[in-house]
Amino acid sequence: MTGTQLSEFTGEKPVAKTRKWVKPAIPMGLIIIMAILPIFLGTSYMLHMLILTFVYIIAGVSFRTISISGQFSIAHAAFMGIGAYVAGMASKWLNWPPWLTMPMGAIAAMAIGMLFNYPFSRLRAIYYAMGSLFFGVVIINVISTGGDLTGGYSGLAGIHPIFIGSRVPYYYFFMGLALVSIIALYRFEFSRIGSTLKAIAQSHLVASSVGINESRYRILAVGVGSFFVGLVGAAYAHYNMVISPSSFNLGATLWICMYVLIGGINSFAGPIIGTFVLMLIPEFFRGLKIYAPYISAGILIIIVYLMPQGLVGLPELVRSWMARRRERKPVIHAA
């Protein structure tokens, strides 16, 4: 009551007041739904898919963190592989507990990412993309030739699990990990550093002219992005207990890019929405078996032709379409 009276007094529209709590209510509602979902999902296969969705959400969001600095890094799955293999090898050969190996994997991915970007931050646009692509190829080839230490092409088996038994604790663990990563990367993007990165992406010349150390900030962006993707890679290694180089190759990187681009690379929510859509919708057509990749390709084609901004731009698109229809209506009546 007081709210409406106050708004009348100040001349502020009450609609704006209601929207203020609507905006955080959507993610809160989603979190609550996701939290009670395991009660209804008896089949552990669906839980497995949701866990993988969380894994790729973190990968997608951290990919976007790198991309806001104008760097299209085609080595993201390879950084995930670094985290996974460091954690997996420490767990298998040294018997270290998961709570130690997971931060280790994350830090290893971050260190290698920053070391890679130290010389490569002077390359721009497509040359940086190609440099990172070859870097990813190098990492995958090194892992594949590692012999017994990394398991070679057939993969590394025998990594110790975090939880024994059911998948439900894993579900909450990955959900928590995704939430923490999303909040951390959100704070990072909308901090002063995030704005600096966006300034570099818009024009590196202008950014340098106002005293921004371009390469230092680009190295920082890659460090933060590969830290989180290394962390989730390490967690994935402990969840799956078997990792193989083919999960982290060029194709895997391109699929992470697809999750981000489908949702919309210009919006923070883009990777989250895109991963949900592209991971879970093909699952409804699992009965088609070998024809299932067509569903993913179909989603890609629909979005690339109809929604230039990705799925995030869909409400805007519908609104403008409705407005055009409303405008056209009287014309049709007159005719």
């Binding site: 299209f72 010389p119 490569f120 002077r122 390359l123 497509i126 040359y127 190609m130 440099g131 692509l133 070859f134 870097f135 190829v137 190098v138 080839n141 090194v142 594949s144 030739t145 092409y153 190759n249 060029l250 194709g251 391109l254 699929w255 890019c257 697809m258 681009l261 489908i262 690379i265 070998i290 024809y291 990749p293 067509y294 993913s296 390709a297 890609l300 084609i301 979005i303 690339v304 032709y305 230039p308």
Partner: protein
């Protein structure tokens, strides 16, 4: 001695195939500015189509080869009109559409023709030369075909009207359009030629090695390597770097076994990219 001859033949064949693929990739890249990540899939599709015509439909080689090349060139024109033209200058959507094309082609070929132990029957048989220095005729024929096609491509780019128009567009798009060059027609032609070159490479590879639906992925990385090393926008660079890369891929496995040769090659490429980002023959 036999080993040396074997290595040299491998090197020449690999070089010819890489150069054919990279030239096709560079045609699309120079005309439209599109990194055609579906190039590997098109290469794979050509091999599969040729296998379909020869093995399943029982056509003769001399009918199947031109038919495959024409079909893939038509696919190139289709791709230019509906998949590349709407997205010129939009890198993100180019990547998306290329991945979509790759998924569609790979899945189709995997379901339709399978992946187990498939190869195009070689069109010539027998052995050339006395035993210690002998090479198989099909390898020689592959190399000779590749070399003839490459010469034709050079003549096409340098001596024909269309080639001149393509070079003009590569050098200066606005200027070329002001001179009355129909950009879209030349771009469609370049895509058709590019895909036809990929088709020839696919047929040549398919007659020597086994086909697999995923062979495009591995090849794509090598093609990207070649194009980047040669420098974006350079035609003659592709020939020289292609020969070097072919020699490297035929020679390094003799010294370093297995996938370690891939590691060595990619690290060398990374270092070259760091020292000279615009490639050996690029200018920017």
């Amino acid at each position: 001695m036999g080993l040396v001859i074997q290595t040299v033949t491998n090197m020449l064949i690999l070089s010819a195939v890489f150069i054919l693929l990279a030239l096709g990739f560079a045609f699309v890249l120079n005309m439209l500015g599109i990194f055609n990540l579906a190039h590997g899939a098109i290469f794979m599709t050509a091999g599969y189509l040729c296998y379909l015509f020869v093995e399943r439909m029982g056509m003769t080689h001399w009918l199947a080869f031109p038919l495959t090349i024409i079909l893939i060139a038509a696919l190139g024109i289709f791709l230019e009109r509906f998949c590349f033209r709407p997205f010129i200058g939009d890198f993100n959507r180019q990547v998306m559409i290329c991945v979509a094309i790759t998924v569609v082609l790979t899945t189709t070929m995997n379901i339709w023709l399978g992946s187990s132990n498939i190869s195009i029957p070689s069109f010539v048989t027998g052995v050339l030369g006395p035993p210690p220095y002998s090479t198989r005729w099909d390898r020689v024929a592959t190399f000779v075909t590749g070399a003839i096609i490459l010469v034709l491509v050079i003549l096409f780019v340098n001596r024909t009207r269309w080639g001149a128009q393509m070079q003009a567009i590569t050098q200066n798009l606005e200027g070329a359009i002001l001179q009355g060059i129909n950009f879209h027609r030349i771009a469609a032609m370049a895509c058709a030629v590019g895909c036809a070159l990929a088709a020839i490479a696919g047929i040549l590879m398919g007659t020597i090695y086994n086909l697999s639906p995923f062979m495009g992925d591995v090849t794509l990385v090598k093609v990207l390597m070649l194009v980047i090393l040669a420098g974006v926008g350079s035609f003659h660079g592709i020939f020289i770097v292609g020969l070097i890369l072919g020699a490297a891929y035929a020679g390094i496995p003799m010294v370093i076994p297995g996938a370690a040769s891939d590691v060595a090659a990619s690290i060398i490429v990374l270092i070259i990219l760091l020292i000279r980002p615009q490639g050996f023959f690029g200018h920017e």
